[in-house]
Symmetry: C2
Subunit: 264 residues, 2 copies
């Protein structure tokens, strides 16, 4: 379990959610395509962060449904109408959170990836840091899965509205793969496969009631061992006569299914 040794300070940063974000390298965690006035003054930006922070705390405490906009507004020390001024809907708060998660994931992986000595460790960092970031947000993550099956909903994982977040996430996994020697087709689809795997693990994670979700961590480590072995097998010369036609077929299937990255 390599990347799981978060310091307390870092965890606290995640828990407050607002992420003190040392020296504004990025403008804001919360620049979604939401109709939020781009012209938020310094004070307005503070207020927005207050609302976001209060909302995330409430989501963590009692879940997405049970936390009402009235509660959020009150907890942030303002009126209901004021909070709607900053977030057009309850879901847009979740979207802002998700943007934050992606940004944080990218930053952490880029920071820690150099410590890894092989593919297994790089994958470990990519996956474990993701879980680290969302460790305390299982009740909130429910809202992210809620619209997964609804292709027309703005928060659907498959919809166009979240394509940016999806691609960012896949880019992180691609980065974690590094210059690993892999067959061309494997390399091409690996980020997608890893993204899908990580979504499945998050689904398990959300449902994992074990202490600090250690079960998910064990499952993850075991799965990554197998994934690494699979990558090894994928390059083993003796197996190529068997594997190459299979890879070819898989590539055709995924492409025909419209699942190829960067379509068109």
């Amino acid at each position: 379990m390599s990347a799981t040794s978060r310091t307390k300070a870092e965890v606290t940063e995640v828990q407050t959610g607002v992420a003190v974000q040392a020296a504004g390298s990025q403008p804001s965690l919360v620049e979604h395509e939401s109709p939020v006035p781009a012209t938020l003054g310094k004070k307005g930006e503070m207020t927005r962060q207050q609302i976001l922070s209060a909302a995330l705390n409430l989501f963590r405490e009692r879940g997405f449904d049970a936390a009402t906009m009235r509660d959020i507004a009150e907890s942030a020390g303002m009126s209901l109408g004021a909070s709607y001024y900053y977030f057009p809907s309850k879901e847009s708060i979740v979207s802002a959170y998700y943007d934050y998660v992606q940004q944080e994931h990218k930053v952490r992986v880029e920071r820690e990836i150099s410590k890894a000595k092989n593919l297994r460790q790089r994958l470990g960092i990519a996956f474990h840091t993701k879980l680290d970031i969302i460790q305390n947000d299982r009740r909130l993550l429910v809202a992210l899965f809620r619209y997964g099956g609804d292709p027309h909903h703005p928060l659907s994982w498959f919809g166009p509205a979240t394509s940016r977040q999806r691609e960012l996430s896949m880019a992180v996994f691609a980065h974690a793969l590094g210059d690993q020697k892999l067959p061309k087709d494997v390399r091409y689809f690996a980020p997608l496969a890893l993204w899908a795997l990580h979504m499945g693990l998050i689904l398990y994670f959300v449902n994992d009631s074990s202490d600090e979700q250690r079960r998910t961590r064990r499952l993850l480590d075991g799965t990554l061992d197998l994934v690494t072995r699979a990558f090894d097998l994928a390059t083993a010369p003796v197996l190529q006569p068997i594997l190459r036609p299979i890879r070819k077929r898989v590539t055709e299937l995924l492409t025909d299914a419209g699942l190829a990255p960067n379509p068109g």
Copy 2:
């Protein structure tokens, strides 16, 4: 909590919801376990079917969210209160639909499985009949995925409330496997794997806007070709030195993750 030994008074209490909140538990789950209240007379059963039918039509037309209980009741030719007498919530209608799907799936597979001449064809029947049944219900199926990530919700795929449906579904896939010669561990986890695969395909299916979802059908056929080949490889003697330790590891992982069927 035995769903079969329910007195009439208890059922009424549950359905009106009075005793539910007092107890603080989730007795409404019994609705999922006994989809048709035994206390309904012949006429009542008709009425229930009317409501179910009207609801499904509306769900298909405008989706789960847009169809209100008032619409459903009106479409079924009765009052709001009457429909609540038969279904304690909108979601319980979805649950009834899902019960129907399972039952229909079982019946169809049992009816058609004898036509198949090999494993590939048996799997084809198992998967395609499932898609046949839900072919026109993509907008409705959204509601099935909605609570997938919420372990405490009665309709969560992973929750105890839906375990019966899950096991029924896996049993159908196990039946489709027939007496296919497979390693013991592979056979043990195959129904779970096939169930998971079929859930993933349904997720794709729901998001598939191609004509009559032909894309999903193609993806399914290609995937089943690969699955069949995988089963072949799993039994190929020359590959056992490589595969056996991997299978062993996978078995350990799934068992430790609590994903083994018939736990305990």
